[in-house]
């Protein structure tokens, strides 16, 4: 690999890691709070991408505004999923998970029926041109993903560690019973967690809309990677999810550059299987006592 390709691949790895982290953080957060496992998380990503398609490509709003609007819209989807699916099935993790598989079906059909199934939606690239990094060039459209993802993750971190509501959310993730005894209302926390999960998945989808091909079924590949990241990171650990996202982002991008996308995905899943064998609790997961 020559220097130009190397720099290019490194930059692409950072882009991929940012997106993986955005998607997986929401999944890990929701799983941490009352074990909400959302199979439709990939479809939330898809909805985020469709928001940009509708607001930017069809309505003609400025791209940054479309992206920012996608965040609350998909957060709303998260709230609805919490209220209609996770709350009634709270006793049984698997039931909630399987029910969200049903939700994934529903969202796919709705997107397909409203905007068509066939060819991927074409979204004009808002930021043409490319940045020169050394001898390598990388499209601005890709590059802006990095600061956006960083901003979102930092905001999330600030919220979870500095804001009272966020601290309550972490307490609830650590031990829901004790949190409930301290007067933290579980229902509010689960709703908040799902809203945050939706928001981060929506942002990821919105940012990727001009790069990724937008179809009703685009969530499928996303959820696979998100699951792999979350398992490698240690299921409910947000820090673990981010670490795993970085590792897998680099693995995936480098393997893709050398071979192709399919093999890269296989290597990622293989890495997950290896992690499970060597360290079943994941990179930063806690050992079960």
């Amino acid at each position: 690999m020559d220097t130009v390709t190397l720099i290019q691949t490194l930059l692409n790895s950072v882009v991929a890691s940012s997106i993986y982290a955005l998607v997986a953080v929401g999944l890990a957060l929701a799983f941490g709070v009352m074990k909400m496992a959302n199979f439709a998380h990939g479809e939330f990503f898809m909805v985020g991408a469709y928001c940009v398609y509708v607001l930017y490509a069809l309505v003609g709003l400025p791209f940054p505004l479309a992206v920012i609007l996608a965040i609350p819209i998909v957060a709303l989807f998260g709230l609805v999923a919490e209220r209609l699916i996770f709350r009634p099935t709270r006793k049984n993790i698997l039931a909630g998970f399987m029910a969200t598989a049903g939700l994934a079906f529903i969202l796919q059909v709705l997107a397909g029926q409203i905007w068509g199934v066939g060819i991927a939606k074409s979204i004009p690239t808002p930021y043409m041109g490319a940045a020169d990094v050394g001898d390598a060039t990388i499209g601005w459209q890709r590059l802006i993903v990095i600061p956006c993802a960083f901003a979102m993750l930092l905001a999330l971190r600030f919220f979870l560690y500095r804001v009272k509501l966020g601290k309550a959310l972490r307490a609830c993730a650590q031990d829901p019973e004790i949190a409930a005894l301290q007067g933290i209302r579980t229902n509010r926390m689960t709703a908040l967690a799902m809203a945050l999960a939706g928001a981060s998945a929506g942002l990821a989808g919105a940012l990727m809309a001009p790069i990724h091909s937008v179809t009703p079924y685009m969530g499928h590949g996303v959820i696979l990677i998100a699951f792999v990241v979350v398992i490698v990171g240690g299921m409910a650990s947000i820090e673990g999810a981010i670490l795993a996202a970085v590792i897998l982002g680099f693995i995936h991008t480098f393997v893709t550059t050398v071979t192709d996308n399919l093999i890269a995905t296989m290597v990622g899943v293989g890495f997950m299987a290896l992690t499970l064998i060597v360290r079943p609790q994941g990179l930063l997961g806690r050992e079960r006592a």
Binding site: A37, L94, G102, V109, M235, T265
Partner: protein, 348 residues
């Protein structure tokens, strides 16, 4: 013994005999009907019935795995391993149907054995998503590798099934072939379910730590269930490969897996027959919804959510209630229905 007493006793004896043999009679009636249907059905419905038999093997073997408490998301891919195994063996080794089908089962069992090594480290939800990822890994291999799997195009021109010179491919013989294979598979799984091994599986679901402490090797029995389930999924896969004559990776994708889960959830997994009941009901509903083709996933996604929230035990949890209702006089039944409605209304 006086005459009236004797009469009363025989009456009682025949009543208990009836109760004991009623399920058997029902089973015999169903089998007889299926035999007759094999000749009488129109071609389209016969095809449906063949797919139904294959799916019966799928739901029953899936339920076998769930008795340990492990819900796999890789079962359809294991079926695919059987399909690919059967297609390749039949095509390249030219072996007859009777050899290919068990070999397809063994192929799937071997893939299952490879899956279960990392999967044993997980439980519950982790098992679910890790099995999904493992399944996708295999599916991607089929997509990617041209030889021998044929990439996205898959494998075409699978030889038609034959056994000792007898051609099984015409619709009627193939109907009965699948029927017999299905009966054998279901019978074996039924025996396992009621055996000591079946009880060991269920005990792991109930309390795995206790099971381990009274001497049940939990890792081993979970593996055994998973591999046995994979074997039968492979058998189903072989039948599918023969029926379609060509297979490709899309036959074994996530959508099919979610439908498998819908069948099982609608029926319930506590009893052996629950998943089959679910399959029957959903298959009929699926056929009725043919005019609404593109809305189907939405409808069945809704059905899945509805069952998980309002009837998590599946249709089988209604069996005892139906039985009770049949034994209750109509007046009381009405009363019961009213209380049921009021409680239902207050719950929603």
């Amino acid at each position: 013994m006086s005459a009236p007493e004797e009469v009363a006793n025989t009456g009682l004896a025949s009543a208990t005999a009836l109760r004991r043999f009623a399920p058997l009679l029902l089973l015999a009636a169903v089998l007889a009907v299926l035999c007759v249907l094999g000749f009488e059905l129109r071609p389209y419905h016969r095809e449906l019935a063949i797919v139904f038999f294959i799916n019966v093997i799928m739901v029953t073997s899936y339920r076998l795995i769930t008795t340990t408490g492990d819900w796999s998301f890789a079962h359809v891919v294991l079926m695919g391993a059987g399909s690919y195994g059967a297609a390749l063996i039949a095509k390249h080794a030219g072996l007859p149907f009777g050899v290919v089908v068990p070999m397809a089962g063994i192929t799937a069992a071997i893939v299952g054995a490879a899956f279960i090594i990392p999967l044993l480290r997980t439980a519950g939800f982790g098992f679910f998503i890790a099995s999904f990822a493992m399944g996708e890994l295999v599916r991607l291999i089929w997509v990617k590798v041209q030889f021998p799997f044929g990439g996205t195009r898959g494998i075409i021109n699978i030889p038609s099934p034959e056994i000792v010179g007898l051609r099984l491919s015409p619709p009627v013989p193939f109907y009965f072939t699948c029927f017999i294979v299905m009966l054998a598979a279901v019978f074996i799984m039924w025996r396992l379910d009621r055996s000591r091994i079946g009880n060991a599986w269920k005990s792991i679901h109930s309390d795995d730590l206790l099971a381990e402490c009274v001497g049940i090797d939990v890792a081993r029995y979970r593996s055994l269930a998973f591999i046995t389930g994979a074997f039968f999924a492979g058998i189903a896969g072989a039948l599918l490969a023969y029926r379609m004559g060509s297979i490709d990776p899309r036959n074994f994708d996530l959508t099919t897996m979610i439908y498998l889960i819908i069948w099982v959830v609608v029926g319930g997994t506590t009893t052996f027959w629950g998943p089959i009941v679910g399959l029957v009901v959903v298959t009929i509903a699926f056929e009725w919804s043919r005019p609404l083709l593109e809305w189907r996933p939405l409808m069945f996604g809704g059905v899945l959510i509805f069952f998980l929230i309002f009837l998590p035990g599946g249709l089988e949890s209604l069996f005892p209630k139906v039985g009770n209702a049949l034994r209750t006089p109509p007046g009381q039944q009405f009363q019961r229905l009213r209380t049921w409605f009021t409680t239902f209304a207050s719950r929603t």
